[in-house]
């Protein structure tokens, strides 16, 4: 029982994203009771929920990387969409120049794009950890220049990725009922879970994010850890770019993963993570990412004018952040405590101490009276 209680306490940070998720589901159910309906088209599942899982793939992967960068460096990487665009441009060029496209070609292309992601991560990481540039300023460089680099690699406007395997990666593999990006995301999350389980990544990153000076005196090199999180961010960007470009079927260097860093940062915050670094919850960020995708689609489903969606989203986020702010939280905690004591007193009078909890309360109040 106490074990369960600590477990539940550990999950308390998920309260916010989960409650938002529930509210969004209720709104959707009011709009139409068929919200959860899933249909089979050509042997694959479609419907609102599969669409959200499908649509959020890149965001989920990026928000995992963003969580780590935020936790260790106490800042955010705003170049993730651009680094995804660059690494996927390299992937597309490799595939287009490879002649016949086999699974092997795609795999090699993917690995090359991951290396590109690592290089970009190393660039950002070097600026942040070794030159002490603010993460947002350091990544501003690629945020501004990244899409031009991607365009130069492309060599022309939007090269098309017209092969069967890419199509399958971006949509479905015949015979598999779940869309491929959803599967890839699940695999990615599983890999991250294994990494967290088999290494000290969490302890090191949290220690560095909370108190770099103490971390250093315990043998951790904070610079290296911050650098490492940027490398991991680079890989996340490459994977997200890979999924995005296969989904789209062409490499649009201007619009691919455009402004996704805003949603990724929001997902991290929504997941109960402090943007000032320290302790982190990847589960929270993942739920946050899916929540954002659900919010986007809910607004579409409510037939909000696409031009106005951003404004609605902004209002929603303001409400959310105010509700989640410590000020409001403390207020509610006080109200809750008061309510509890009133209920406790009331139940003491009513039951005359039959209830076990009430007995201990009468005990202490009895002592006070002495």
């Amino acid at each position: 029982m106490p074990r369960l209680k600590t477990r539940l306490n550990n999950l308390s940070h998920l309260f916010l994203p989960l409650s938002v998720l529930v509210i969004l589901i209720i709104i959707n159910l009011i709009k139409g009771a068929d919200y959860f309906r899933i249909t089979m088209v050509n042997g694959a599942f479609y419907g609102n929920i599969p669409n959200i899982l499908f649509g959020a793939s890149e965001l989920v992967i990026l928000s995992i990387g963003m969580t780590l960068v935020t936790a260790a460096s106490r800042g955010q990487d705003i170049s993730i969409g651009e680094s995804g665009a660059i690494s996927s441009a390299i992937f597309v060029q490799y595939v287009l120049n490879a002649g016949e496209v086999t699974l092997w070609t795609i795999l090699v292309g993917f690995l090359i794009s991951c290396v590109a992601g690592l290089v970009i991560g190393a660039f950002n990481g070097t600026l942040v950890s070794f030159f002490n540039v603010q993460p947002m300023v350091a990544t501003l460089i690629l945020f501004l220049g990244g899409r031009s680099i991607a365009f130069i690699i492309d060599g022309k406007v939007s090269p098309i990725l017209a092969n069967e395997i890419s199509n399958r990666i971006g949509t479905v593999i015949p015979g598999v009922p779940i869309q491929t990006p959803i599967i890839l995301t699940v695999v990615f999350i599983a890999v991250v879970a294994v990494v967290l389980k088999t290494t000290n990544l969490r302890l090191y990153v949290e220690a560095v994010g909370i108190n770099p000076s103490a971390a250093r005196l315990n043998g951790i090199n904070p610079k290296k850890i911050i650098f490492l999180t940027f490398l991991l961010m680079g890989v996340c960007s490459a994977v997200a770019g890979f999924i995005a470009v296969n989904k789209a079927g062409r490499h649009d260097s201007v619009n691919l993963l455009k402004f996704i860093m805003m949603d990724a940062i929001l997902a991290v915050a929504l997941g109960g993570n402090s943007l000032a670094g320290g302790k982190f919850s990847i589960t929270g960020s993942i739920i946050g990412a899916y929540t954002i995708e659900m919010l986007n689609r809910t607004l579409l489903r409510l037939e909000v004018n696409p031009e106005a969606i951003k404004a609605f989203k902004a209002v929603f986020i303001i409400v959310l952040m105010v509700v989640a702010s410590p000020v409001v939280r403390i207020f509610f905690k006080k109200v809750l405590d008061k309510a509890r004591t009133i209920v406790a007193r009331y139940s003491v009078r009513q039951t005359g101490g039959i209830n076990k909890g009430a007995v201990s309360i009468t005990d202490t109040t009895g002592k006070k009276g002495e």
Partner: protein, 500 residues
């Protein structure tokens, strides 16, 4: 005049979820009195002060100021009633001038009248005998003067009650005297002063009365002159004093010419300590003595490579080794408990368990995490062994009291089974009971063969624990003292005569 009561707190109760911080506590402060509030960590001193200053709301009880019942909902209200508070950490703006710091946020007008403000500040500094000019930048004043300016700020606007929460912990002897002079002057003006400190000598030097709290309960109020030190300590600890005086240091091991566990030659660091030689034998407890800023901490930081090592060579058990990073030092079997517990020691948001296993975990390496079970076993073992008071191993370390935090850090290093452990101010800011526990532990560890360097600003503590003292002055070693009959005078003489 002396007996006129300005503050009366009666039957104060305060509970936090799961803990009863105060139970039925009374406190009385008279006009023109310096009243020491004593108790170990967790006794309820700071809770009582926070209730008095409006930071916390009391659950039960009443507060009277000059006979009238008051109820503070915020610190601002308490301030308006004439309660001024000065905390251990100076909460002033170092880049503003002295006058600005005294009057900032105090003005009733929207515009600052510079001339008037500076004149008023000058008058105030003068009357309180604070050696600072109103237009001087605060950062250019010494810590003691800054502390006095913080007091001046609190005293401004008809302060009747002044609370000083550990004002002396970052001051040296001379500065403490200056602060005391200021306190006496305020006392003469009729201000009631509540004085909180861990230094018992200071209590006897300046206070008129003492109120002792223990475990959230009032033990009693005493006239300072009528309460012997030893009784005060036993009242604070709640046990007889026989174990306190039972501490006895060990003889220096006779085998002084055997190979030292650790030896440094001409070691120097970027923190500016002059190249120094140092060695320690197996099972020896030694210490660096000297005034604040003499280079004690810098020297041990150089040994652990906490600051960048700039020169010198190091031998472990007679073998030359390279120690350029803390991790290399750890791998050679050196542990280091830093002076600044909050800044360099604890990872405040992490759990007691994570904090405890950190050093061992890092030594094992990034790819070899301890299993959950192992980590729990280690934690439980040390919580028991060192009697660490924590609700659970999962509790964030920041919610523990200072003494218990320090025990966790100590456990962190003991877990790595070092052969040489450096303890820089392990007992600073922690209660008497834990202090004694730590001193005993140090001697026990040494008896088991560990070499320990023990640094403390309290010289008598070092005399009690260390068999050999390395005396420092102006970032240089000026001499060494050893033997069973070391006295404070010996050390002071050496500091006074040493150097050029």
């Amino acid at each position: 005049m002396q007996s006129e009561i300005i503050l009366k707190m009666e039957g104060i109760d305060k509970s936090f979820p799961g803990v009863r911080a105060l139970h039925n506590v009374d406190f009385t402060l008279r006009k023109g009195e310096i009243h020491a509030l004593m108790g170990e960590n967790g006794a309820g001193k700071s809770t009582l002060i926070k209730i008095l200053t409006g930071v916390y709301q009391k659950d039960a009880g009443q507060i009277f100021i000059e006979g009238r019942p008051v109820y503070f909902k915020s610190p601002q209200e308490a301030q308006n009633m004439g309660i001024g508070t000065v905390f251990q950490e100076i909460a002033l703006c170092p880049n503003l001038t002295v006058a600005e710091n005294i009057f900032i946020g105090r003005g009733r007008d929207n515009f600052i009248k510079w001339k008037q403000m500076n004149a008023k500040a000058a008058e105030m500094l003068n009357s309180l005998g604070i050696p600072a000019s109103p237009t001087q930048e605060l950062a250019s004043c010494s810590i003691a003067v800054q502390q006095m300016i913080a007091i001046a700020r609190a005293v401004d606007m008809d302060c009747k009650i002044l609370i000083l929460d550990e004002p002396t912990s970052s001051l040296d002897e001379d500065e403490v005297q200056k602060l005391f002079a200021l306190m006496r002057q305020l006392k003469a003006r009729g201000v009631g002063i509540i004085f909180i400190t861990h230094f018992i000598d200071e209590v006897y030097a300046i206070s008129d009365r003492i109120t002792v709290l223990r475990n959230g309960e009032l033990i009693g109020e005493y006239h300072t002159s009528a309460l012997p030190q030893i009784e005060l300590i036993s009242k604070m600890m709640g046990k007889a004093l026989s174990d306190v005086s039972a501490i006895k240091k060990h003889e220096l091991p006779k085998s002084d010419d055997s190979v030292p566990v650790f030896e440094a030659r001409a070691l120097s660091s970027a923190a500016g300590v002059r190249p120094f030689n140092f060695k320690i034998q197996k099972g020896e407890v030694n210490g660096f003595a000297g005034l604040l800023g003499s280079g004690r901490s810098e020297s041990v930081r150089a040994i652990f490579a906490a600051d960048k090592v700039t020169g010198g060579e190091v031998k472990i058990n007679g073998r030359r080794v390279k120690i350029k990073t803390p991790l290399q030092a750890m791998k050679q079997g050196i542990g280091y408990l830093p002076e600044d517990r909050k800044g360099d020691g604890i990872i405040d948001e992490l759990s007691v368990r994570d904090n405890l296993i950190l050093a061992l975990q890092v030594m094992k390496g990034f790819f070899r995490p301890l299993s959950r079970k192992q980590a729990e076993e280690f934690t439980d073992q040390f919580i028991q062994k060192l009697d660490i008071k924590t609700p659970s191993p999962n509790t964030p370390i920041k919610s523990l009291s200072g003494g218990n935090q320090q025990k966790v850090i100590l456990a962190r290093w003991l877990l790595t089974q070092p052969m040489y452990l450096i303890l820089d101010e392990p007992t600073r800011g922690i209660d008497v009971g834990t202090k004694v526990e730590i001193q005993k532990l140090v001697l026990k560890l040494a008896a088991d063969g560990m070499s320990i360097t023990f640094i403390s600003s309290e010289i008598d503590e070092m005399l009690r624990v260390c068999a050999r003292l390395i005396v420092m002055k102006d970032r240089e070693i000026v001499g060494e003292l050893s033997g069973m009959n070391l006295t404070e005078q010996d050390v002071m003489h050496m500091i006074a005569q040493g150097g050029k």
